[in-house]
């Protein structure tokens, strides 16, 4: 179908956008358009106003500031895939980006757009949760930061106010030498995952696991951090058996049931993919840290 009628606004700077957001009722922010445009075309979204923020160049950047990496909300997924600092500091996000949609959607799609759309099976919210990222939002009243763990309010809805705009995400990259893996199962390459698993591991000089991050996507309304598994791995020597056994815990998670897959199937994928992601992350960590 075609989009319903709406008033179109294209503010040229951040203040202009925040001003419109404060003033207009029932407004939707148009970022890369790879989620909102389908919603408009299918008339799932019926905004009176569309605020197109594509002209705001100050929202597209990748910046190292001290020990943290900051990424502007309007940075295109395609540009992120090619960003030198991101490739060096956060290979997990780069690996996930390769599975976000298709080349033609990544050319337009943005990091902030994917986070705000918050599809339960989208890759980038999983990465943000895995990294304990912080989401920066601004409104005319000022700015605030939201921990990714608190960002999803409910199904496909971020915990931000109507007058607020997500401007950036930031996180502390893991030290060089950590291992990572982002693995998903989807019907077709580039489709939303039925289940996705992200793992990061850091090894101590003795070769034991000193830090672990395990996150699932596609199982519930928000990315699921598997803290139990993370704790279980600490201090252990990595092995195929250890990872398989630890991942088994994910067979018992609460998982949704829809046309794409049953709860049982999702639980199976969650356990299987977690095990594979951990094994791959461990292998990579071993390659990177000279024994």
């Amino acid at each position: 179908m075609k989009p319903p009628p709406f008033h179109y606004h294209d503010p040229q700077d951040l203040d202009g956008a925040l001003d419109l957001l404060a003033r207009l009722e029932n407004a939707k922010v148009l970022a890369g358009g790879q989620s909102l445009m389908p919603m408009l075309n299918m008339r799932f979204a019926l905004p009176d106003h569309v605020i197109d923020i594509n002209a705001i160049e100050s929202l597209a950047f990748v910046r190292e500031s001290g020990s943290r990496l900051e990424i502007g909300a309007m940075t295109r997924q395609h540009d992120l895939e090619r960003s030198a600092p991101l490739r060096r500091l956060c290979p997990l996000m780069v690996e996930a980006l390769g599975q976000v949609g298709h080349r033609a959607t990544r050319n337009r799609g943005t990091l902030g757009g994917s986070l705000c759309h918050l599809d339960p099976a989208a890759e980038l919210p999983v990465v943000a949760a895995a990294l304990d990222a912080t989401i920066q939002v601004k409104s005319k009243q000022g700015g605030r930061s939201i921990a990714m763990a608190d960002f999803p309010a409910f199904y496909m809805t971020p915990a931000i106010e109507p007058e607020e705009l997500v401007t950036a995400i930031e996180f502390e990259p893991w030290p060089a030498g950590h291992g990572h893996a982002f693995i998903e199962f989807a019907r077709r390459h580039g489709d939303f995952a039925i289940v996705a698993a992200a793992a990061m591991l850091e090894l101590s000089p003795e070769g034991t696991i000193s830090r672990a991050s395990v996150t699932l996507g596609g199982v519930g309304t928000a990315p699921l951090r598997c803290h139990g598994i993370e704790e279980q791995l600490l201090g252990q020597h990595g092995s195929a058996a250890l990872f398989r056994e630890a991942a088994e815990a994910n067979r018992g998670i609460d998982a949704m049931d829809d046309v794409h897959a049953s709860t049982l199937y999702r639980q199976h994928l969650a356990a299987e993919l977690t095990g594979r992601a951990l094994a791959t992350a461990f292998e990579r960590a071993q390659e990177r840290v000279p024994a």
Binding site: M1, K2, P3, P4, P5, F6, H7, Y8, D10, G33, Q34, M37, P38, L40, N41, M42, V50, D52, N54, H78, G101, H102, R103, A104, T105, N107, R108, R188, H189, G190
Partner: protein, 163 residues
Amino acid sequence: MTDRRRIALTVNGLQRDGEVEGRLLLADFLRHHLGLTGTHLGCEHGVCGACTVLVDGQATRSCLMLAVQANGRSITTVEGLAPDGEASHPLQAAFHERHGLQCGFCTPGFLMTLVEFLEENPEPDEAAVREALSGNLCRCTGYQGIVDAALQASASLRETSGQ
């Protein structure tokens, strides 16, 4: 609700303009305002890839972009691959030779996706071609002819560029 806007853009090398409603899709502007019906609309929600065009050289779904957003940009559609009177583009020739199309509905999207892909990856293997085409649906060919055509075109493009 008729906030109409004037837009001016370059389409296949020609300066074009128009007055459009905010909600008009780029695909519909190309098809109905400019008469460039080579760009097809299959799903209108970003799944099939039939509407793919180049925006400033980047493959883009024209059903997921508003015409107003194309203001000041340069668009290439399938009509721009081989302007009237010129020989087919090597990709078009390869699709013809390798049975890369049957009904042809999906073809413009495949061609425009591949134009960008082959520019960046002049020597792809079959797996890379298949991944690059994962965002385009074809209901007729079973894809094999399309993949063969893409590989053949990459070889002939390399030859013409003297590699």
